[in-house]
C-alpha cells in the first residue's frame, strides 16, 4: 500500500490543467463572447486545481491510518474516485476547447469573422425572442454539422454550424432548431409530463404489445419529442424559411424513414404545419408552407406512410399540446 500512485495521478492532472490553461489563454481573443466562455471554463479548471490541493492534504492522513487497512482503503478509494472525476472534467473541457479553437481559427479570416459576429447577433436575437434567461451565454462555433452543446451549469450554450454554411446566412434559420433544444432543456420536465402520456395513449391504439409501447414511449421521451418540439420552436421563430432550409439540409430521399434520434422528415414537416395552423397563422403564410412542402414531397418516389409509432395522429397531437405548453 502506497500513496505514491495517488501523487503520480495528481501530478499528471496538474500538468494537464496547466496545458489546458495555456490552450485557453491562447484561445482567448479580443472577441468578447470567446473570452466570456473561456473565463467560465477557466473557472472550472481553477475549481479542479484547488480541489487537487485538497486531495494532496487528505493524502497526508493515509500513512497514519495504514494499520487500519479498511479505513486506509476507504479513504484511498474516495480520493481516487475524485481524481477520476477530475480526469473526466479535463476530457470534457478539452472537447469544448476544440470548439473554441475552431471558432478562433475561423475568426482569423476577416470575412468569416464578420459572418461569425453576425451569426452571434442573429442567435442572440432569436434567444431574446424565446424569452430565455439573459445571463445565458450563447456562442456560435463552426463544426461539421448543425448541432448544439448546452452546458447549463455554466450558463453556456454553444450552437454549431458547418463552416461551409458560415457565408450562407439564409441557412442560419437552421440554428433556430438548435435553440429549440435549449428551450426543451429548460422546460423538459413540464413538456414530458404533459405530452408523453398523450403519446402513450395514442400508441396504445396502434401498438398492441405492451413492451413495445413502453419502448416507443421511451424513444419519444429520449429523442423524438425533443426534435419535434425543436422544429416547432424553429418554425415559430423563422416561419416557412425554416421548413424550406430543413428540406434543403436534410436532402432526404426517404422522408418516411426513421434514423435513430431524428423523426422522419414527413413527421417533422407535418408537426410544423400543424402547429402553425393551430396558432392561427395567416392563410398566406400557411399556403407558402404547404406549397414548399408539396413541391418537394410530390417529387419523391417514396410512397410509404409514417410508421405506426410515429403516425400522423401522434404528431398532430404533439403539435397541439406543444401549443398549450409553450411560452412561444
Amino acid at each position: 500500500m502506497s500513496e505514491r500512485h495517488l501523487f503520480g495521478i495528481i501530478d499528471d492532472l496538474r500538468s494537464d490543467i496547466a496545458s489546458l490553461k495555456e490552450f485557453f489563454r491562447i484561445a482567448r481573443s479580443g472577441d468578447l463572447k470567446t473570452s466570456e466562455l473561456v473565463s467560465r471554463l477557466e473557472y472550472v479548471l481553477s475549481e479542479v486545481e484547488s480541489d487537487l490541493d485538497l486531495r494532496v492534504r487528505l493524502c497526508k492522513y493515509l500513512p497514519s491510518i495504514k494499520r487500519r487497512r479498511v479505513a486506509y482503503k476507504e479513504l484511498y478509494t474516495r480520493i481516487l474516485f475524485n481524481l477520476r472525476q477530475h480526469r473526466q472534467s479535463i476530457y470534457l473541457l478539452y472537447m469544448v476547447y476544440e470548439l473554441i479553437s475552431l471558432r478562433e481559427k475561423a475568426r482569423e479570416n476577416v470575412t468569416y469573422r464578420r459572418f461569425l459576429d453576425l451569426a452571434d447577433k442573429y442567435v442572440d436575437s432569436l434567444t431574446e425572442a424565446l424569452n430565455m434567461p439573459t445571463d445565458l451565454l450563447i456562442i456560435v462555433a463552426p463544426q461539421s454539422e448543425y448541432a448544439s452543446l448546452p452546458i447549463l451549469s455554466k450558463r453556456a450554450f454553444i450552437v454549431m454550424l458547418p463552416p461551409t454554411n458560415l457565408a450562407k446566412p439564409w441557412k442560419w434559420v437552421l440554428l433556430s432548431h438548435e435553440l429549440g433544444h435549449l428551450y426543451f432543456q429548460y422546460y423538459r420536465e413540464r413538456i414530458l409530463i404533459r405530452i408523453l402520456p398523450a403519446i402513450e395513449e395514442e400508441l396504445r391504439d396502434v401498438v398492441r404489445d405492451e413492451e413495445q409501447v413502453k419502448g416507443y414511449v421511451s424513444l419519444w421521451g429520449e429523442y423524438w419529442l425533443q426534435e419535434i418540439v425543436s422544429d416547432i420552436v424553429a418554425v415559430s421563430l423563422c416561419g416557412p424559411a425554416y421548413l424550406k432550409m430543413l428540406i434543403t439540409e436534410a436532402t432526404e430521399p426517404k422522408p418516411a424513414q426513421v434514423y435513430g434520434a431524428h423523426p422522419p422528415l414527413d413527421a417533422r414537416a407535418l408537426a410544423q404545419m400543424t402547429y402553425m395552423k393551430f396558432t392561427g397563422a395567416p392563410d398566406e403564410l400557411m399556403l407558402i408552407m404547404e406549397r414548399v412542402w408539396r413541391e418537394f414531397r410530390n417529387g419523391v418516389l417514396e410512397m410509404d406512410s409514417l410508421p405506426d409509432y410515429l403516425n400522423e395522429e401522434i404528431v398532430r397531437r404533439v403539435s397541439w399540446l406543444t401549443l398549450f405548453e409553450s411560452h412561444l
Binding site: 472534467s89 448544439s148 452543446l149 451549469s153
Partner: protein, 147 residues
C-alpha cells in the same frame, strides 16, 4: 442536436453530479473516521458537515425525478434506475421512501447528531449515485469520441 453533442452534454451533467457526490463521500468518510471510528482527523468538523450538506439539492432533484417518473409513463432516468437496483425495489414509491429516510439521516448528521446507521445509509445511497453517474459519464464520453 447531433447525437455526439447530446452525449457530451449528458456526460457533463453526470460528471458534475459524480464530482459533487464524490466530494461529499470523502467528507462523510472523514467525519465518520473522526466521530464513529475514533481516528484522529484534523479537519474542521463544521466545514465537513457543510460539505456533506451540499448534497441536499442533488437528493431533492432525485426525489423530483422519482415523482415525475411516477406521474408520467416515461421510464426511470439512469440514477433512479440505479437506486431501484441497489435496493431491489421495482416500486418507485419504496425508493422514494428510502430516499426520504436518507435525507432525514443527512439532516441529523448536518445537525451534529451522529449515528452509525445514518452514516451507513447515506454512504450506500451516495456511492450508488456517484458510481452510476461516473461510469455512465465515462461511457458517454467514450461513445461521443467514436462519432
Amino acid at each position: 442536436m447531433s447525437t455526439r453533442w447530446m452525449l457530451v452534454s449528458e456526460a457533463w451533467n453526470l460528471n458534475e453530479i459524480a464530482r459533487k457526490v464524490g466530494d461529499v463521500l470523502t467528507a462523510l468518510t472523514l467525519l465518520k473516521f473522526a466521530k464513529i471510528k475514533g481516528l484522529t482527523i484534523s479537519e474542521d468538523e463544521e466545514e465537513l458537515r457543510k460539505r456533506i450538506l451540499a448534497v441536499k439539492p442533488v437528493l431533492r432533484d432525485l426525489l423530483k425525478e422519482i415523482e415525475n417518473t411516477i406521474k408520467s409513463s416515461y421510464g426511470p432516468p439512469p440514477l433512479v434506475r440505479a437506486l431501484q437496483e441497489e435496493y431491489g425495489y421495482a416500486d418507485l414509491k419504496k425508493v422514494q421512501e428510502k430516499l426520504r429516510n436518507v435525507i432525514d439521516a443527512l439532516e441529523r448528521i448536518g445537525k451534529g447528531d451522529y449515528r452509525e446507521d445514518d452514516f451507513e445509509e447515506l454512504e450506500r445511497l451516495l456511492e450508488c449515485i456517484a458510481y452510476e453517474a461516473s461510469s455512465r459519464s465515462q461511457e458517454l464520453i467514450a461513445r461521443a469520441g467514436r462519432y
